[in-house]
């Protein structure tokens, strides 16, 4: 039990360490030198190529994407954070260059509708289960004998055995 706690605490410690580190990394001016392709790709992955459906900017081979990656590099070198870069691209080229619509206005519907639908589904499930289990079931629900669980399965296998062994 203590093991779990220790691990949980350690996770927490790691994550808070990361918050500190992330803040340090994101501080402007940290990227004085040219960013590496991997750093550029990290951001480019969160943008989608508008001229070729369904591919993100990191993976797309077109000229547009190459230019965009270069621009991401410039912005990173200026010390912009990932979020700022995404906002720049959304403002410059439209919201549809983001892999996921921004969380505002009508776009919230992307997230809200499924959540409502799932909750409604759960609600219906609960309601039906409640209604069904409340029905009188006296006719064909004799009390289950205490060892029935193990037996039911074994019985099934034995039945099969009999039906096959003639």
């Amino acid at each position: 039990m203590f093991g779990v706690l220790r691990v949980a605490l350690r996770c927490l410690a790691f994550s808070s360490l990361w918050v500190v580190l992330a803040l340090a990394w994101d501080a402007p001016g940290m990227f004085a030198q040219t960013p590496s392709p991997d750093e550029i790709n990290r951001v480019a992955k969160m943008l989608s190529c508008p001229t070729c459906a369904g591919i993100n900017v990191a993976d797309c081979p077109t000229e547009t994407c190459a230019q965009w990656r270069a621009k991401i590099g410039e912005l990173l070198a200026e010390g912009k954070t990932d979020q700022e870069i995404l906002e720049y691209f959304a403002a410059r080229y439209g919201d549809h260059v983001l892999q996921v619509p921004p969380t505002r206005g009508f776009f919230l519907g992307v997230w809200i509708v499924p959540i409502i639908a799932i909750l409604a589904g759960l609600g219906t499930f609960g309601y039906l289960a409640h209604r069904w289990t409340k029905r009188p079931t006296a006719i064909e629900s004799p009390a289950v004998p205490s060892d029935a669980v193990e037996d039911e399965y074994v019985k099934r296998v034995e039945q099969e055995l009999q039906s096959w062994q003639k």
């Binding site: 508008p50 001229t51 077109t62 000229e63 547009t64 230019q67 965009w68 270069a70 621009k71 403002a91 410059r92 080229y93 439209g94 919201d95 549809h96 209604r131 029905r135 009188p136 079931t137 006719i139």
Partner: protein, 200 residues
Amino acid sequence: MAEVREETPPPPYVAKAHPAGRRLIWLIVVLALLGTLLGLLALGLQPRTSVTLQGKPAPPFAITAINGEFAGQKFSLADLRGHIVVLNIWASWCVECAREATVLEQAWRAYRPRGVWFIGVDYLDTDTAGLAYLKRFDITYPNGPDIGSRIYQAYRATGVPETFFIDRDGIVQHVQIGPIGQTQLDALLDRLLTQGRSQP
């Protein structure tokens, strides 16, 4: 159709069937939902291409020029009312655009004195690449980035290049999909120029 069903009396725990009225309401609700969905998709199938703008008022646009003498100036459709406007949507990565770049620039120089405005809209481009393109083809008419791809969307463009010829009353008279040739461009502009201001 009279049918004999395999009917056993319902066991007591089976709920009574819903009254017909309630069932009908459910049917209507389900059908309405399906209808809405299908209707939406049907709307989505409507052709929404630039060609459908022909003969209709041009959607408003505004750009901030980045090149030459106009750098920093704002241009909008409202400001240019009373002039013939040639709106060209292009991009530096577009091969076809490069084919018409000189044609457009020469026409601009020829028709500028007669009150024709050329406006270039740079679609999905970085400023560096866009400026390099403008410099390469020595383009002098006002060009600016399409912020938020709004002009591209408002004009329902289906790709680049696309060129819209807007008359003095702000009506789209012609939509050119793909690069335009010099003879066609001259003919179009001459026709628009001979049209009187008062004629619709």
